[in-house]
């Protein structure tokens, strides 16, 4: 432990002297909240002041309104800010059909008509009006007059939104006065007083605020820790390699594990310092009034006793630091390490999201799930209903995982692995190839999240075409053609995409695995539904692929053939071939599982797709071809998608395919075919194996 503490002291000394670390771990978190709240307050007050000064032009159609109400409206509206109210004839609007014609008529009245704007006939001296208020009155069943105000505005224009706000305030004031008057006139008082419901919260203010804090604090803590720990981990591992001191350090008469422990402690300290500064900054903002206590979302102060539950985050902080060390410790450069921070963030944030589910609580199983257990324990602790034994189980499991991760970090620092034996030129090329694959995988996931996913939400059919027949093949070709090569190596596109002729026995063996894969996926989903149920609305889309156009053919094309070919060409083709140049199979399978799970845009499908990605990667590695993976993917998707469709859609239950294939007895026994399938894959060798 002495050695670890000496390494810790030196690492901290260097971190403290590094301006970049000081800025990202101390200065930025310290200034973040005061700056944010000050800026928000300034922007809000400045925005309100500016908008209150705006001269607004409002059209009113108040023909049906009493003079008294009309006068009241105009008088009150003018008190809200400078404005001009003009009476307008709204007959064209009343005569227009509902929907689009009426919207266009309103735009024309307000001078916003697209047909006129920019045309030769447009009068440039005329500014468009900001609001059109139409009042309509009707007699109620007991003779009272009801008035309805319709506010036509354009949400894309600041002045129009401001005019709408002022008009709504005026109408609400008028309504309040009118209701009061009618109560007094008709009932001699407020009848609601007789049936008043006064909710009384049994929770104390501390409990209420603790519960509110518990919902978001685990997220914030994790993200803050990553922001503080990420640079530290890069500095203590990749920085050591870049400065050429790692070889010297590993030559000292101390165990690699002691060095790894010292470095881990430095990362942990940096992360905790960032978190502490962040929290202190937040509390100072609240105590100085820069931010109100309501930012917690609770009813008041949380109390020191309840805040002590924050210590439950310590095991998660330790585990996160160890995971950061494990993931980024092998990086040879800062750039390579930075690339690995994002997957770690996702891996940690996804299980932490469990705190957002109100029905999830800390159980013995959840206590064992990394980061999910700690998040739930922290939430329960802040709410004041943590079961101590479950809390202890969570602490023990997370510290155990940390210990295991640290053992692996020690191996990362094994000199044999660090220094290898390869020449510098080869080492550079190997780095380049692996970096290329990970960089493009990351880009593909982000493109899916930001672009392809958006197109799918906008129009599912267009999104499917775009995703499968534009985005995925374009990325596959880009990865294959831009892959780094050795000097003199000729580019071969089909090789770079993994398009080699497989052994027929391997194809047969792979296809025999499909029923077992589908059965396994079904069991996994059934288990997952118990621990992470899919919300009702999302279930159809997640499981049955309902909403895909084109009936059964659409399903087969969009959910079986297209992903089977294109996803495989990108992942088990181009990316896997690039990874293969540098990595051995365990690492390839791990990265394939991670990115294949992430690209499916769903927390509910993360586990099944990640496992499928890992299995298909293993298959492609074994058969040295992407073709068996394509066939298995198509067949697997076919079985699962059509099976779910038959389960969810009553019409599909009577179709020929369902009756004669999916519901036959033999299919129930088909998973056993995996045994000869595995045997074929294992025993039949290709020439050169």
């Amino acid at each position: 432990m002495n050695v670890a503490l000496r390494v810790l002291r030196v690492e901290l000394l260097q971190l403290v002297r590094d301006k970049r670390v000081l800025f990202s771990a101390i200065v930025l978190p310290a200034l973040l909240y005061p700056g944010l709240f000050w800026l928000m307050a300034k922007l809000e007050s400045r925005g309100e002041a500016v908008m209150a000064e705006r001269e607004l032009s409002v059209l009113v159609a108040f023909d049906e309104l009493d003079d008294e109400v009309r006068g009241d409206f105009v008088e009150r509206f003018e008190t809200k800010g400078p404005s001009t109210l003009l009476q307008v004839d709204a007959t064209p609007l009343a005569e227009a059909d509902e929907g689009e014609p009426r919207r266009l008529a309103a735009r024309a009245l307000m001078g916003l008509d697209e047909a006129l704007q920019g045309s030769d006939e447009a009068d440039e001296t005329l500014e468009p009006h900001d609001l059109l208020v139409i009042a309509e009155t009707a007699n109620g069943p007991e003779g009272q007059r009801h008035t309805a105000f319709t506010l036509w505005y354009d949400v894309t224009r600041d002045d129009s939104r401001e005019a709408r706000s002022r008009a709504r305030e005026v109408v609400m004031e008028l309504e309040s006065d009118e209701v009061q008057l009618r109560r007094e006139r008709l009932l001699g008082g407020d009848p609601a007083r007789a049936l008043l419901a006064e909710p009384e919260d049994l929770a104390t203010a501390e409990e209420s605020s603790g519960a509110a804090l518990g919902k978001w604090f685990p997220f914030i803590a994790i993200l803050v820790l990553i922001s503080g720990g990420a640079y530290a981990v890069l500095a203590v591992f990749a920085g050591e390699r870049e400065s050429g001191t790692l070889e010297t350090l590993l030559l000292q008469p101390v165990a690699e594990r002691s060095i790894a422990t010292g470095k881990f402690l430095a990362v942990f300290a940096a992360g905790m310092a960032t978190l502490a500064v962040n929290l202190a900054s937040l509390l100072i903002c609240i105590s100085t009034g820069l931010a109100g206590e309501e930012i917690f979302g609770g009813a008041g102060p949380i109390g020191i006793g309840r805040l002590s539950a924050l210590t439950l985050e310590l095991p998660a902080c330790a585990l996160l630091s160890a995971v950061l060390c494990l993931a980024c410790g092998g990086a040879r450069t800062f750039r390579e390490g930075q690339m690995l921070v994002f997957p770690v963030t996702l891996l940690v944030v996804v299980p932490t999201a469990i705190v957002l589910r109100p029905d999830a609580s800390l159980t013995a199983i959840w206590a064992l799930v990394p980061f999910a257990g700690s998040a739930l324990a922290l939430r329960d602790g802040l709410e004041g209903d943590l079961v101590p034994s479950l809390g202890a189980l969570m602490v023990a499991s997370h510290l155990g995982y940390t210990w295991l991760a640290l053992a692996r970090v020690g191996r990362i620092l094994d000199a044999e692995k660090v220094l290898g034996g390869d020449s510098k030129a080869d080492a550079h090329l190997r780095e380049a190839s692996a970096r290329h694959a990970v960089r493009w995988s990351f880009a593909a996931v982000m493109f899916m999240y930001l672009v392809a996913g958006t197109v799918q939400r906008w129009n599912l059919q267009v999104g499917m075409w775009f995703t499968f027949w534009a985005f995925l093949p374009a990325f596959a070709l880009a990865v294959a053609t831009l892959a780094p090569r050795r000097p003199g190596e000729r580019p071969r596109l089909h090789e770079a995409l993994g398009l080699r002729l497989p052994h027929p026995a391997h194809v047969l063996g792979a296809l025999l695995l499909v029923p077992a894969l589908a059965a396994g996926a079904r069991m996994l989903l059934e288990w997952q539904m118990e621990v992470l149920p899919i919300p009702g609305g999302a279930a159809d889309l997640e499981l049955g692929g309902l909403g895909i156009p084109g009936g059964v053919f659409g399903l087969v094309f969009f959910l079986c053939i297209s992903p089977g070919i294109m996803e495989e060409l990108l992942f088990r083709g181009a990316l896997l071939e690039s990874m293969k140049r540098d990595w051995r199979w365990p690492r390839i399978i791990g990265w394939q599982a991670l990115f294949f799970g992430l690209i499916h845009l769903s927390v509910y499908r993360l586990a099944p797709t990640a496992i499928l990605g890992a299995l298909l990667a293993a298959l492609a590695l074994r058969t040295r071809s992407v073709v068996p993976a394509i066939l298995v993917h198509i067949a697997y998707n076919g079985l699962t998608v059509l099976g779910e469709r038959a389960a969810h859609d009553p019409d599909a239950a009577n179709e020929w395919l369902t009756v004669h294939v999916l519901q036959t007895d033999w299919l129930a026994h088909a998973p056993w075919a995996a045994i000869p399938g595995l045997a074929l894959l294992a025993l039949v060798r290709r020439s050169g194996d």
Partner: protein
């Protein structure tokens, strides 16, 4: 003087049949070092001479316990490198041309850190640091951050860092690579001073003049094998060549011819 005539207590480094094979995902097994036998004595400078890729660095890394030998044995100061690597590390100082320093630590902090890692503590540690600073004339810049030092000053701190624990064996991997004339001269002076202090110095180089000037004995390494070793005169006698460059060429030609003959008969 042949090896058998040297008392075993005089041998600081002894290697027999040293071999190292790396596994490459694409190229399969690569034999970086095929067979190295060598002895280095106390108070002697032994040079490993060979072209790039000959296996010099891998050999030195095996001797300094960074890499585990695939086959063969090696003892440093009587301690087996595979049986007790930590004890071996206590007995060596290692320096290579690519060795760096922590840019945000001062020279004194660097010496203290590595002294502590070698188990030095308290007054013993402070005395070792002071002596090293005096020996290498570091006092003018030892309290400045290493990142702000000149190349020559960095080199001197690096050397001081490698010997702060006063090891009996010094292993140097191409120590003058990338250094200017002054820094190279300092390094050569340092190597000679270690011999004068009775230490064993093993260093690798591909600079013939350096080997010719410094080494008591030279081992010629080529394609992962030790082709020959001995004093310069012994090597001249083996090859009938006068200059070290000619000696080296003759040994390499002989090795290539042997390999071609072996290939043809196979």
């Amino acid at each position: 003087m042949t090896q058998t005539q040297v008392a075993s207590s005089e041998i600081a480094i002894h290697a027999t049949g040293l071999k190292k094979t790396f596994k490459d995902p694409e190229r399969g097994a690569i034999e970086a070092v095929k067979s190295i036998d060598m002895d280095c004595r106390r108070g002697e400078i032994f040079g490993l001479l060979g072209p790039n890729g000959a296996g010099k660095t891998t050999t030195l890394r095996m001797l300094s316990t960074i890499l585990a030998p695939t086959a063969g044995t090696a003892r440093i100061d009587g301690v087996d490198v595979t049986e007790d690597p930590l004890e071996v590390r206590r007995r060596i100082g290692f320096l290579s041309g690519s060795t760096g320093l922590y840019p945000r630590l001062t020279g004194r902090e660097t010496l203290r850190y590595f002294g502590e890692l070698h188990g030095l503590e308290g007054a013993l540690l402070e005395a070792a640091i002071d002596k090293t600073i005096a020996d290498f004339d570091l006092s003018d810049f030892v309290d400045g951050h290493c990142g702000s030092l000149s190349t020559g000053q960095k080199q001197r701190v690096s050397i001081a860092r490698a010997v702060v624990h006063d090891p009996p064996v010094l292993i140097l991997d191409e120590p003058t690579t990338g250094l200017d004339i002054m820094a190279s001269s300092d390094m050569i002076e340092f190597i000679e001073s270690r011999r004068a202090a009775g230490r064993c110095v093993l260093f690798s180089t591909h600079i013939l003049s350096e080997a010719e000037r410094l080494c008591d004995r030279i081992g010629v390494v080529y394609s992962g094998r030790m082709l020959a070793s001995g004093s310069l005169d012994e090597l001249r006698a083996m090859t009938d060549a006068e200059w070290l460059e000619d000696v080296f060429r003759a040994l390499v030609r002989r090795a290539d011819a042997d390999r071609d003959r072996a290939g043809a008969s196979a």
